[in-house]
Amino acid sequence: MARTYELGLVLDPRQSDEAVQELVGKYRDMIAAAGGNVTEVDNWGKRKLAYPIHKLNEGKYVFYFVASEGSVTWTDIERNLMQNEAVLRYLVVRTDLDLKRAATKAKQRKKPPQTEETAA
């Protein structure tokens, strides 16, 4: 039942680092209020955009890694992100299913070669 998510943000590069920190903290609190637990924040800093957004060529990238006992209610957070002028882009991705599948596949990969060898 536990889920994990990732939240990626592209922020206006004109935001100062302090303002970015403030925003990061704000959304961390919102995620907490929505039933999530931010396990890690990955701050990439300023990075060139692959294409201009609002005539800006750079953005400040922040990624959140979120774990949750149940699920996180993103609706309010997403609405807030959408209305926030400092947020150029955001992306919420649920990762637990893909990561779990990847883990089991990796395990399967390790096993079969051994059994094949013993059979041959």
């Binding site: 990626g8 592209v10 692959a50 294409y51 957004i53 992306l91 990796a106």
Partner: protein, 84 residues
């Protein structure tokens, strides 16, 4: 691989095409991260299109994962939608 009889005597044209392999299968990659821009860029053509698997040899599973990752990365402007 059998080729049709080549009647051009003395002019044997044999094409050896390198067997294409799926990089992700070989390396055992089971999750393609949209944040891994360096990796994704290897599968993006100059025109910013996704490299077809007929060229890259990527397995269908991994091609799907790759396509999804690229599309996610595009949304965050990590990777272009189109060449400018």
């Amino acid at each position: 691989m059998k080729r049709a009889r080549n009647d051009n005597v003395g002019r044997k044209k044999v094409f050896y095409r390198r067997r294409k392999v799926c990089k992700f299968t070989v390396e055992g990659i089971e999750y393609i991260d949209y944040k891994d821009v360096k990796l994704l860029q290897q599968y993006i053509l100059e025109r910013a299109k996704i490299l077809p698997r007929r060229i890259s040899g990527t397995s269908s599973r991994h091609q799907r994962m790759l396509a999804k990752a690229i599309k996610r990365a595009r949304h965050l402007a990590l990777v272009p939608f189109s060449a400018d």
